[in-house]
């Protein structure tokens, strides 16, 4: 297959110009995710939009526990693994953790709900006034800290799929592709230019969004920025390749829109943008495991929140690389100018 860098560059530059000059799309691409991140930061400044949850350490096999706070509308759940439960307190998934056997309890300093539950615990436990407060190891992680990698991934998914898929279908419908097909430009060169342009746009908008949230909301990053960049770049290539495949043949914006929605909605719900995939039904977890966005978000979260390196998330990266390869080949193979 012939590949002239000059041809690719021309397509790349033309597409970049189009994106930057289309003010309404630009404002939407950058503005909407900011509104989402900040909206969620304020709306759920204390944990997930779940009920208030207290973990009670219980012996293995025991699922029923005493409502230690004596409060209605508070979920008391049995926990068996103290380590794992502490991590959930750290992430505000549990607002308080109580071990009745040892008289100890844990709350996060940043959790107002935790504070209220702590007061209730002391009020209810007149017969046991010796509750010992323990510190939660590590930094507390707010919901918005946990949410950001997911929102970045979701935004990337929408801009990749719609930005590539829709634009190519529109080009095909209005005859831009047909005009290009009459020149020596090859389909492969055209697709490379589109991919390159969208990749740069995605990385630029994601960086702006990331830095804005990172600085203004103080969202922590425990791993390396370079590792994050590698993960998001791979995820972007994978999602763009998916968009190219969707747009390979159809000239109908309605059909393309339907297909894109069919892809984006399950990913938006199942890929762990809003809540952990662990809470999904087992067979939905299997579905989530084949969605590229799941791997992108899991890897990004591991780097940002747990501070791990690329090696620790290599299984996610391999899935992303393979998926990208398959869809790139498929998209290029199926592509028709007409």
């Amino acid at each position: 297959m012939r590949l002239s860098p000059r041809h690719v560059w021309s397509v790349f530059v033309a597409r970049n110009r189009e994106f930057v000059r289309d003010r309404s799309a630009l404002v939407w691409t950058l503005g909407f995710p900011f509104v989402l991140v900040f909206g969620f930061a304020f709306a759920f400044s204390d944990g997930t939009p779940d009920r208030h949850t207290v973990g009670v350490v219980a012996p293995p096999g025991t699922e029923q526990v005493e409502p230690v706070t004596g409060l209605d509308h508070v979920d008391h759940v049995a926990v068996h693994d103290l380590e794992a439960a502490l991590e959930r307190v750290q992430r505000h998934r549990l607002h308080m953790l109580v071990d009745p056997a040892s008289g100890r309890y844990w709350v996060s300093d940043d959790s107002p709900t935790g504070y209220l539950l702590e007061r209730a615990l002391h009020g209810a436990a007149v017969d046991n006034p010796d509750w010992q407060r323990e510190t939660v190891p590590g930094e507390s992680i707010r919901y918005v800290d946990w949410l950001l990698p997911g929102l970045l991934g979701m935004n990337m998914m929408f801009t990749a799929l719609f930005g590539v898929g829709f634009v190519i279908v529109r080009y095909r419908k209005n005859g831009v592709l047909r005009r290009l097909s009459a020149t020596p430009l090859t389909a492969f060169e055209f697709l490379c230019g589109q991919l390159g342009s969208r990749l740069v746009i995605l990385l630029a908008t994601t960086t702006i969004l990331f830095l804005g949230s990172h600085l203004l909301l103080g969202i922590p990053v425990h791993g390396s920025y370079l590792a994050l960049l590698v993960i998001y770049a791979l995820g972007a290539v994978c999602l763009i390749a998916l968009g190219l495949t969707i747009a390979a043949r159809t000239a109908s914006e309605e059909l393309a829109g339907g297909l894109l929605n069919l892809l984006t909605w399950p990913m938006m719900i199942l890929s762990g943008v809003w809540f952990s995939t662990e809470s999904l039904h087992p067979w939905l977890q299997q579905v989530a495991a084949v969605l590229p966005l799941t791997h992108l978000i899991d890897a990004a979260r591991a780097v940002m929140l747990d501070g791990v390196g690329l090696l620790a998330v290599s299984h996610h990266l391999i899935v992303l690389i393979l998926t990208a390869g398959v869809f790139l080949a498929l998209g290029a193979r199926l592509f028709r100018w007409d």
Binding site: S10, V11, A14, E18, R21, D22, G175, A182
Partner: protein
């Protein structure tokens, strides 16, 4: 004898339920301008798109300078489609530069802009220019590789008379530079003015072919005397020709104009609104393709 620059044999193209092109042979000599004429749906655009290498024929062969349509052809052909869009938010200048970058050899863009009179809107977005400007821009893009052969598919459809005449001048300038032109149109005036040869296409076949003068003399040896029906006299005499009623007018097709006029005078016809004219390509076109309305 020179060889044709573009040659097609036995072109066939079927679409579901319709044979759009049903066995067309063509040969274009270098420097000529061939006009494909035909009513809507006759197969002109399908034919020209196969010749452009954009549409693959179901049968038949096309050769450019004796070779199949390949990369060399794409580099040496200039194409103006009937309907085409350019990317949004791209200026005229940028569009020219982008298309030029796709070709191994490009024309001088400043000169091209001057030739096609793009100067006043070079920095405007392509999709914000008027109809006439747009056709000139599309022609400029078709010429961006300094092509040997230029395809123009209904280039002046929808233009006002000024823009159309302006476009014709442009095509004549291009022809003067030795380029071969293949043009489709349903304006007979356009074909008569620009084309050295015409081929009339209907139902996917060529039904007449030759220079405009050849075609007219082959099909007609007569002239037309035309007047409103109300102006005819008693209608008692032989009009020395064939009478055809067209709406509220009467056309007398005659080989002897003097005899027909004498007859009308004798019959007491009014002559104020009478017109005598030669047969035109339009007459030929209507005669060959019929007067019934087409889709």
């Amino acid at each position: 004898m020179t060889a044709p620059i573009l040659e097609a044999e036995g072109l066939v193209k079927r679409f579901p339920g319709v044979v759009a092109v049903d066995g067309i042979d063509l040969a274009l000599m270098p420097g000529t301008c061939l006009g494909l004429l035909g009513p809507n749906g006759a197969g002109k655009t399908t034919t020209v798109e196969m010749l452009e290498g954009v549409l693959r024929p179901d049968a038949g062969s096309i050769r450019f300078r004796g070779a199949p349509l390949d990369e060399h052809f794409r580099a040496r052909a200039g194409i103006q489609f009937q309907r085409t869009a350019l990317p949004d938010y791209m200026t005229v200048r940028e569009a020219l530069a982008m298309f030029a970058s796709f070709y191994p050899r490009a024309a001088d863009l400043d000169e091209l802009a001057q030739l096609c009179a793009l100067g006043e809107f070079l920095d405007r977005y392509c999709n914000r220019v008027s109809g006439g400007q747009r056709q000139r821009l599309l022609l400029a893009i078709a010429l961006v590789n300094d092509p040997d052969i230029v395809f123009l598919d209904e280039p002046t459809t929808g233009l006002d008379p000024q823009s159309r005449r302006n476009f014709w001048d442009l095509v004549e300038t291009i022809r003067a530079r030795g380029k071969t032109v293949l043009l489709t149109t349903h304006y007979m005036e356009e074909a008569a003015r620009l084309c050295s040869e015409v081929a009339i296409v209907d139902h996917g076949r060529i039904i007449a072919e030759g220079t405009p003068a050849e075609l007219l003399s082959r099909h007609f040896g007569d002239s037309v005397v035309e007047l409103p029906r109300a102006d005819l006299g008693a209608g008692e005499v032989d009009l020395a020709g064939t009478r055809v009623d067209v709406g509220d007018r009467v056309e007398i097709l005659t080989r002897d104009v003097r005899a027909s006029l004498d007859a009308l005078l004798r019959d007491g016809a009014r002559l104020d609104r009478l017109r005598v004219r030669e047969r035109t390509l339009e007459d030929l076109f209507l005669e060959l393709t019929g007067r019934a309305l087409r889709g």
